[in-house]
Symmetry: C2
Subunit: 500 residues, 2 copies
């Protein structure tokens, strides 16, 4: 027994080396690799991914996992190892039901499809992407049929990104949210705010980088266990709790984008930096639930980061770094970061309309996987929903159905996790204020660390030991509900817009 | 046959993936890894290095190389593959004569020794390093006895870094140089230059970075096939001709250090970026001769970079980026970058006294490997030679025998390649001016690309297909000699110091 456990630990270590190589190659490709060096890195990434995949589906691994799964062995494992054995065995069995030829063809199609999507988006020509999208949908269905023959495909997809959240639960909370949000949004938009002078300034990239370091330090990102870089789109990449990295992108006339990317990615990173060290090297040592992960980035970005009290301790230092902000008083800055506008692009949306962007995508995915909507009908369906929810019709598909990359690599089922994150946050905020009291006075007096420590203790340290539904139950003591998020929006925007 | 060649090519590709992983891990450790993430990267580096070593000494590789080495097969290979088969078989046979236990013990000792050296240097306590140095010397001898039982150990070591250059040749040119240099240095130092005002200024790191980009672009570094980063000590790291990277370090009150590091590392990188694409993936696709490699970095750094004509096209742009240089006229800047001073630290030495720093180290290595000097006697020997050549006695061993890391990881025999690089450069300069005419007018009129293209064509494109001695013969049409370097020094400093 001890022998099997030892062998298993060594095997995990070797798998970790390969996944580390993949993470590092990919990190480098997005942050450093020069144009002509890209192919060399991509080839190496394919090589090491294949090695990792081979290790994760091998007969040797299967027999170790089976040996460790018998009750008399399993019961002696610690919690991290239990999680690891259980989930790896489940995933390995699923993956071994997928024929190798099919798997390779699917990967190859994803790569072609991504290229086609890029070209389609660039030229705003949906017809270039449509045949690939059709093939990806078909192959996704096929893959689900192999891995989970007894379950409905879209539930399998949802489960992949947010385990245990099926479409019944999601339907319920999304509908609750949508029905509360649409009338509120109407009221908010009836009281339009003035346009800000912020975007008339010029903001040096090096100075914006200093602001990012300041904000990361302020929210509690550890620079001993993390670093930063630039990339086209901001992202977070973690090797272990000891090395979690965030990227950013700086826009000359928009200092707000990089500040909120820093806080958002910093939130992801703070999660990973605070997983219990005892879980290191197990499969539970980061958070694999996208909704929970997203709830942490968005808690920092929206729940904390869009309050005036958050900025009180740091705004004057930021003004020193970005001289063109000196004429903008804190109140004007805070007004702009809470400016609600209907807009086409999800990633640029404010926290209120963002929810509707996701609901739209969730409904689209249901049309595809539940109602078998034809690929040709999707752009019109998209535009119809945009009109219905955001009162806008895209002028072209680039600012409509082609805007996101998620469907081009078959990440169907991913979008809902963004909004689940927001919904969890409404619940977490109420739980936090129950424990700590109102958070505005804490933030204003520079005690943001109390909020972070609360999240560390209640959520981060568990990595992915607890399922999303268990996290909610343990932290909030109640069932999943959109009501807290709706209360948060209503209270906040009633004040901001001077609604009665 | 074709089958063996195909298998060999696939095998090489796999080896390349592992060495790419090692290069990338190590690049990341020096440029990005946060403090707490270091151990994770180091463990992965050990794992992938071991994988690479296993592949490079396997029975499978041996039998492929033997099959490709029989004349009827070998003769059909192209030049790059001939080089690859020949050198890999030679190195594999050598490495297989080293017992595995010994090899592992040697690697482990190097790692311990490096740690001991760091501590010894920090505390200036040679006694902490001495027992490790003794062990490394003994193990180095043992390793040579395994790999090359019939050759003298120090020649084996020299050969490792500059193939074909034995100590007889090196003795001859180093003695020639030393005997010419000492009287010249005496004359130079008898006409001391005024101290520069440059070091009274303050130079922003971001601005120095922009200067580096400017200089790299100016000398012909390709940003499509390369990038830059910061590290404690500047270095160059290449994945292939399509991805070569240089690092730099910025000092607040010394703008010259980073400028010359940029030019030096840029010279290394330009070499690697211009190897013949046909050699890609073979063992000949970068330059493995340290003297030749160093000759290229130093040609840019010293032969071109210390001339006034080099700076004429760019100095005013640099002054714009570094405002504290605006008061420093070009002539004062050029005077400072050619200021000769006796000093303790090799890496901070000017181009003239640098030669003596290397001769001292070469003589020390001869004392160790030829004359079996005891480890305890080395610090005194070092100080004696410092007095003899540079008229200085170190106050402590940190600024004496402990200053360089080379001996702490058993890189005995490496130092001479630095000076060989300088000596080659004297010869290359004469050959270049024979072809292109005097280079000052070229540089002054912004035609530095003609010099670079000459080096590309004469040296870079061959990668390591030609041995150093062949490069010299082909490019210069004469035997290795220190006379051209001496002529260069004499002409230059006669003018600068107003000697008659």
């Amino acid at each position: 027994m001890n022998h099997t456990l030892d062998s298993f630990r060594s095997y995990l270590k070797e798998m970790n080396y390969y996944s580390r190589a993949c993470t590092l190659l990919s990190w480098d490709m997005y942050t450093a690799t020069p144009k002509l060096g890209f192919q060399g890195m991509a080839d190496a990434l394919t090589f090491f991914s294949t090695k990792h995949f081979t290790l994760s589906t091998s007969d040797e691994l299967l027999s170790m996992l089976e040996a460790l799964s018998v009750p008399e062995e399993y019961d002696q494992l610690d919690e991290g190892m239990k999680y690891t054995v259980r989930t790896m065995l489940r995933d390995l069995r699923k993956m071994r039901r997928v024929p190798k030829d099919f798997f390779e063809a699917f990967i190859a199609e994803q790569s072609l499809s991504m290229q086609a999507w890029e070209e389609a988006k660039r030229t705003s020509d949906y017809s270039l992407f449509a045949p690939h999208l059709e093939k990806l949908i078909e192959m996704t269905r096929q893959q689900c049929a192999y891995t989970d023959p007894d379950r409905e495909c879209y539930d399998v997809l949802l489960d992949k990104y947010e385990e245990g959240m099926d479409s019944e639960s999601i339907d319920r909370v999304f509908t609750e949210l949508r029905d509360g949000l649409l009338p509120l949004l109407k009221k908010i938009l009836a009281h339009p705010l003035p346009e800000s002078r912020i975007y008339q300034g010029t903001y040096d990239a090096d100075a914006q980088k200093k602001v990012q370091e300041l904000l990361l330090g302020y929210i509690g990102f550890s620079f001993e266990a993390g670093t930063t870089a630039e990339s086209e789109h901001p992202f977070t990449s973690g090797f272990s709790r000891y090395d979690v990295r965030v990227t950013n992108h700086y826009y000359e006339h928009d200092p707000i984008s990089a500040m909120f990317s820093a806080i958002h990615e910093g939130g992801h990173a703070i999660f990973e930096q605070n997983v219990d060290p005892a879980l290191e090297g197990t499969a539970a040592d980061d958070c694999c639930y996208m909704g929970i992960h997203e709830s942490q980035s968005r808690f920092f970005e929206n729940i904390l980061g869009r309050r005036k009290s958050f900025w009180v301790p740091v705004y004057s230092r930021i003004q020193e770094l970005l001289p063109d902000l000196k004429d903008i008083p804190l109140d004007e800055f805070v007004q702009e970061i809470n400016h609600v506008r209907n807009s086409f692009i999800r990633t640029q949306a404010d926290e209120v309309t963002y929810c509707l962007h996701i609901i739209l995508r969730y409904e689209m995915e249901q049309e595809i996987f539940r109602n078998h909507a034809s690929v040709d009908s999707l752009p019109a369906l998209w535009n119809e929903k945009m009109q219905k929810y955001l009162n806008l019709t895209p002028e072209n598909d680039s600012e409509g159905i082609l805007q996101d990359m998620h469907w081009s690599d078959a990440s169907f089922g991913y979008f809902p996790s963004y909004l689940l994150g927001n919904i969890y946050d409404g619940m977490f905020l109420e739980a936090m204020e129950k424990d700590l009291g109102p958070i505005d006075p804490l933030l204003e007096s520079g005690q943001i660390h109390l909020c972070r420590e609360w999240l560390n203790e209640k959520i981060h340290k568990y990595g992915c030991l607890r399922l999303p539904r268990e996290v909610i139950a343990n932290v909030c003591g109640q069932e999943l509900s959109a009501a807290p998020l709706l209360r948060y929006f209503t209270d906040k925007y009633t004040k901001i817009c001077g609604l009665e």
